[in-house]
Amino acid sequence: MARIRPRSTRRFPSPRPGRGAGQDICFLLLLVMTTVPWSVPALAIEPLRDEPVVWFADDRSPIEAPEFQEPGLVPYAVDSFVGRPFSRFWNPGRFFRWVGTGDRVQESVDINTLDEVVNSTWFTNRIGLKPLSEAQLTEGAAHGRGFAAGPDRSAPWTIIGAKTSGVTPGFRIKDATGDVWLFKFDPPSHPGMTIRAGVVTNLLFHAIGFNVPVDRLVMFSREDLVVGEGAMMRLQRVGKVPMTEANLDSVLVATKSIFNGQYHALASRYLDGIPLGPFDDQGTREDDPNDTVRHQDRRELRALKVFAAWVNHFDTKMHNSLDMYLGEPGAGHVRHHLIDFASTLGAFGDALVKRFGYEYGFDVFPITGRALTLGFVEDTWVSLERPAGLDEVGLFDVDTFDPGGWKPDLPHSGMANLTTRDGYWAAKVLSAFTDEDLRLIVRQGHYQNPAAVDFLVETLAGRRDKIVRYWFDRVPPLDFFTLTEKGIEFHDLAAERGYASVEESRYRFRLAAVGSNRNGRDDGWTSWHETPVSLVPLFDGSGRLADDIPQGDADHPFLAVEVQVNRGSGWSRSTVLYGAYASGRLVALDR
């Protein structure tokens, strides 16, 4: 098993310390301030290796089950609003890196040499790498597991617990197969809003690749429920009381989640395994030896900013995640899940809040700006309104959505580390959702008004398009290079997925034989070749490398293919692919 550092780790030449530490530090600071910002992008990166591309993280080694731990919301919020942002703001390393590269941190850790996130206990590549079937899209985490229809209906569901405190009431039920499901209802002020949003976003996030519970929208009658023996009910300011059929009736009536004579609820199946509490968005879990990558440096958690922006999942606090221990004690490992997507697609509790997605709960810079402008400047999000006539849809639109400026309610350490390449990767995944995919998923919310489905599909597509254009403008979307009999073919995702004109897109490439350090021979690169198609031809008629293709040697065992695209406004930044002459492998991709 290989043990690897991320390929993008850069080394920087460092001045030698001299006689006195103070002088040295001053000297170092001066040197760094004057040189690092300009030299960061040009410095060497991880060497090329002719090895299979890594697609899986080795993070399933057997471990003892960690202890359950769940920090309180208030301490976490204080840390998220104060400690962590303060620490990031004053961190000089982030500042210098930002001046030099435009990103505040190094690239993500859990990526392979092709700039893709590897499969792990955190993430599984799904729609980003290949189209999903209708069943995969619409069943999500239930696909292939027999839960697609929700709890088993061969017998009435037995309520084993209930709560009425908080904004929304809920039950815990056990079905005939013994599976435990949590039933959640809408707040009485917005029947049909949060439960449908929860189901839809759960499916979207599953298709993206996150581990999520099985969340299904269920419709049932009063006869489908029986109160189990010993079931308790938690009442606000009273505490736990025995649950009766009578107070079940009163709770059901109070939900107002009744459509065409049936109750609608979000049924969330309890995750398999032993719950270990939520995972923090910063640091690692000390008692999980497999958790070796700081969470803020995991690409899927950094890119959560892009994914969450898409559906306005502002409530990404750590308490909306859950670690589960899978396997027998001592022989299992931890799997990391995102849970509870009810506050998405513009839904939130009993009072909809326009600020969500546009500012943190406490956001120093907008607050200062508003104070200094004396109230003469209005915030963009103030104009956000619910779609007329669609009671099941919250505050969700395309016009006021800013893909670069979206923020969760609590600052998130992973999101704060989002780099341009992380953002591009996330946009690439989102661009794989077709409008039809979205429609299939939104229908799973069982919206009562067909116009709500149309609106949500259009809005999700519109926000997706904004996100994709934003990131594709920053990173040329030349991707998925494959070696074929014609040469190296690649995908221009912008042209293929409708974000750029195929006719107006032209490409150019050049080649070089390079060493593992990416340096070429003295004869360097070939001249640029322009082409209207996304293909770098390499072979002659006999299937061998053409004569004008640089040949490798012992010191230069890799072929570098640098590609750019021009859509009428000049040539883009380069995307460079590296292949090994010896094995024919495509071993690395630089953006």
Partner: protein, 500 residues
Amino acid sequence: MAADFFTTTGRRFHGRCPGPVALVLSVMLLVVGVVGAVAAPAQDLPDSTSSFWGHTPTTADTLGTFEGSLWGPVPARDDSVSARYTNYSRPAWETAVMVPYWVVGIPFRIVYLGIDQTVIGMDKLGLFGAAAAHPGLRIPTDTYLMPVVSIGDLEGFTLGLQARHYDFLGPGNMLFLQASRSTRKADELSGGSLFHMGRDWTIQVGGGTEEKNLTRYFGLGPNSDFDNLSYYHRRVTWGGFELDKVVGRKVGLKLRTYSSKVEALEPVYEIDQSLGRVHGDDIPFGYPGQSTGWTWRLALYRDNADQRGRPRSGGFQSLGVSLFNASDGSDLQFLTYHANLEKFFSLWHTDRTLAVRGFFNRISNVGNADIPFTRLVTFQRPDELRGYHSLRFYGMGSLGFSTEYRWPVWVVRGRNDMGVDAYLFSDIGQVFEKTAEISFDNIKVTGGAGLRLIKSNRGFAARFEIGLSDEQTIFRLKFSQTFQYDPKGMLYGKNPTKVY
């Protein structure tokens, strides 16, 4: 290997190293890092230089779980395509620039660690569990605690505690206690309770004692000289009750009666500037001395403001008259008339509001004794000129006009939820001994800016403001406001002698 070194040390150093140790270690790290980087061996190269290009990849390389992947076939999970990822190393240049950050940050980290651990400890005690029900810190007796903090140049730093017990002896009732102590003997101990009697009646009972060792006195009338600043020790003790009756839609009647004793004594501090020394030739009636008596006050009010947190329409109006009867054997008896008119106007954009207020107070002596200066009208909350201290002017009457332009700067979940509004204000007004003194020449103009902390649509929580006048710049932190002054004064232990 340099990589291993960086990985290990990078984790150890991440924000945890004591300053001097960090300095030494970072220099060592830098040296080793440079050496390690220079000395790193050349990368291994493939043994074969023969080219496979021109052949499609073999099935051994390609068959796997990702048939149909956009990258082509992706192999199945096995050791050859799996890796254990570890955190990246911190490059030497970054370690170098981080050293000052680590060193300078040590005191901040210590402070924050204290805050963090305190919050965690409070959370473990469950003190944040019911924060949404009422403001403040909930303690096991279902009582909510709020700190009392204020800073004044004469009072010094005041710290105290408010305790509110809701549903006291019945739903909707409340018990309130407050105690505060200042660094310069400006202490307060007060309390009150509110009881609902039926739908329309409430009764408040309250009492307390309040003293200020350094209370300002500049002279009587609108033209008292700022240079004649002097101090006296003022002590007030009171107790009484108030009946409130709803008589119509948003209209109510208040009948308040209370006994009060106001003392004016020699100060302990600033003896050189005591009232007696500075105003030796013109000592006001009642100094030193005390005045004890009963006050009866009847007021009619109308409150049709749309809320107390961020009102943007409606207003608050009140008319009142009070009668003071001495109970200390003197023939002191006087009437005080009070009128207050407030109005809120919604402006451009969201929740931009203009608040305007006018007030008028007038004392009419109906007894046979002079009125002690401690019972005169002055600018005290809510009838403030916020660029001046509250006891800057004394007179037989006062009038004023205030405007506040407010705009939201922090809106947590909408105008009905907690947040902060900023405001610019202007107060103009004067005191007068006789009506003939009311003139533009005697009008004082003040202005300033502030921040209002709004706890919810239930009300206002605190304000921090800067008041400017031709004499002073005043910083205030208060838990009461000029507009919509909380009418439940007895309940909250407010000194009733300040309100006319």
